[in-house]
């Protein structure tokens, strides 16, 4: 028997993404849908599963679900119903989760992604809505678990791919593209740290050329896209080692352990999955009319890929610049506003990708959260480009504009005296004074130490209190030193 290598196997991955909608209230009751509140303060008889209570569907949650399904190119079912998924676990007070079984919101969609720069279509098997479960905090020392039901009933959409992904990297690329597409929809904050976006993965290996699927394992407990990739890489290698040595894979759920960077069999007192779905008798069916679907379709924003292409075509941006700018829908909108006010599109893009993005990252916020006006930003960039402001002074003014939207560039320049001095006569006198004060350095330069020119320029800039146009000062000093 020949020795099998990883090349003899093909990896097959499917992902299940859970997305919490940021509606004001929960999916089936009027409790506030909030994160980070004191435990068990956003709960009511409905989401605590008390007997005799009835769920009523939040219209906004349904609209968000239809919008998301449409953005993922799904067919939206005109007949939607809910089903009970039965299992006992303390995070579900009712003993079942209201979910969808045979008539989900949407099915048979797709998301186009780039794999090594080549387009690849990842098929979406289905997208359904359900109620989120509560949060369990395990206390190993006490041997008990604490349950907080605030999260119970948060509207949740589960987005399930077909097993179309072929490597952990592809899975990562899909997740990145999916998150961006979802962020554009404004239905969720897509924040993995808060658990608004979560991902479970199914992975199996099969011999290259084989069309049947191998036995899969389900991976859970990954708290970032990086962790998803790492868990898949670990599991890919683990399964390869089992299969290459003639073993068989056990179908099971495995938990990712971030500290140990490994997956482990989940030991649970829960029996084999037998959810005994049946129609939810407490909720009536929903008919989604075509007109309603079309109304929601009209609210879909341009998707990030289309926007990226269009920014390149309409504004001559490079692929690199456009890709960065579309990572935040609001930043892309901001760029377009600016571009309409300015002929210097490339400079605008540079200032957005450079100083502005740095400031936004430092503040961990989006341009939409600040009161920066596109016209003021354009004016600022143009002043720097014209030489009226130094780069440094421009960045200072940008920071003030970000902090106070009522200020204008003109005011700030005047008030701070940051306006760059380009007056030739004044700069020449500053340069001459500098040369006179540092006659020893001038001698050194004339003896061949050209490195010291920078020192003189620095001294002259200092003398101008930082307001001198550095390019002009440099020209004057060089002219004095070498041509005079």
């Amino acid at each position: 028997m020949s020795i099998l290598t990883q090349k003899d196997f093909e990896t097959v991955i499917g992902l299940e993404v859970h997305l919490q909608f940021s509606t004001r209230t929960k999916i089936f009751c009027g409790c506030e849908n909030a994160f980070g509140k004191e435990p068990n303060t956003c709960v009511c008889p409905v989401c605590l599963g008390l007997p005799g209570t009835l769920p009523v569907l939040n219209k906004s949650a349904l609209d968000s679900a239809i919008k998301t399904a449409l953005a993922l190119n799904c067919t939206v079912n005109s007949y939607i119903k809910f089903d009970r998924k039965n299992y006992y676990y303390p995070d579900l007070p009712k003993g079942y989760q209201i979910s969808q079984f045979d008539f989900p919101i949407g099915h048979d969609g797709y998301l186009d992604i780039l794999v090594n720069g080549n387009p690849k279509r990842i098929r979406i098997h289905r997208a359904h809505i359900e109620e989120d479960a509560g949060k369990l905090i395990h206390d190993n020392a006490e041997g008990c678990s604490l349950v907080d039901y605030n999260r119970t009933g948060t509207p949740l959409m589960e987005i399930v791919t077909e097993p179309d992904l072929r490597s952990p990297q592809e899975a990562y690329d899909y997740l990145t593209a999916l998150k961006l597409a979802l962020q554009y929809l404004d239905v969720s904050d897509c924040d993995m740290e808060k658990g608004s976006l979560r991902c479970d993965a199914n992975i199996s290996l099969r011999r290259a050329g084989e069309t049947r699927l191998g036995t899969k394992t389900e991976l859970k407990n990954m708290n970032s896209f990086k962790a998803v990739k790492a868990a898949l890489e670990f599991e890919e290698m683990r399964q390869f080692r089992v299969l290459a040595t003639g073993g068989t894979i056990v179908q099971e759920t495995r938990l990712w352990n971030e500290d140990k960077q490994a997956t482990f069999t989940m030991r649970t007192k829960e029996e084999a999955h037998d959810y005994r779905y049946f129609p939810e008798p407490d909720l009536v069916p929903f008919i989604v009319e075509d007109a309603e679907i079309e109304r929601i379709r009209l609210t879909l924003p341009e998707n990030p890929q289309a926007k990226c292409q269009r920014l390149q075509k309409d504004y001559g941006l490079s692929d690199y610049d456009a890709t960065i700018i579309v990572q935040d829908r609001h930043l892309a909108d901001f760029f377009e506003h600016c571009a309409k006010h300015s002929g210097k599109i490339k400079k605008i893009a540079n200032w957005i990708i450079g100083p502005l993005l740095k400031e936004l990252k430092d503040r961990r916020c989006s341009v939409k959260d600040l009161s920066l006006k596109p016209e003021q930003f354009v004016l600022l960039v143009e002043k720097v480009e014209n030489g009226d402001l130094s780069n440094l002074a421009g960045k200072d003014i940008l920071i003030t504009l970000l902090e106070d939207g009522s200020k204008t560039v003109e005011d700030l320049i005047e008030k701070s005296g940051l306006s760059q001095v380009s007056d030739d006569a004044l700069l020449e006198s500053i340069a001459d004074e500098t040369l006179k004060e540092h006659a020893d350095v001038v001698t050194q330069i004339k003896n061949g130490n050209h490195g010291a020119v920078g020192f003189l320029i620095g001294q002259a800039m200092k003398k101008s209190q930082g307001k001198g146009n550095p390019k002009k000062i440099k020209d004057i000093i060089q002219r004095r030193l070498f041509n005079a």
Binding site: T25, T41, S145, L146, R276
Partner: protein, 95 residues
């Protein structure tokens, strides 16, 4: 006839413990229900739309507006065991 193995599986899922002497009558009851379902399944329902709900209602929604929740104290008032503002339950997953 439903087997004891089936019965034990179903009762475990339903978190019901059945005493030895309860097994036989329970198996008989469940079997008669299954027989009845088997009878129904013989009917020709080709042109009949499946019923998922007994009421002739559809599209019952709620507006997305916040209603007051219970206080933590009230929410926990019927808990058998509680700690740190949470319901306390036996540990489920061993890590």
């Amino acid at each position: 006839m439903i087997t004891n193995t089936d019965l034990q599986y179903i009762s475990a899922l339903a978190r019901m413990s059945l005493a030895e002497e309860e097994l036989k009558p329970m198996a008989e009851d469940l079997s008669s229900i299954l027989d009845y379902i088997a009878q129904l399944q013989k009917l020709d329902v080709t042109d009949i739309k499946p019923t998922s709900h007994v009421l002739p209602l559809k599209n019952v929604y709620r507006d997305d507006s916040i209603k007051p929740s219970l206080t933590q104290e009230k929410a926990l008032s019927f808990a058998i065991s509680k700690a740190k503002g949470a319901f306390k339950v036996p540990q489920i997953v061993d890590n």
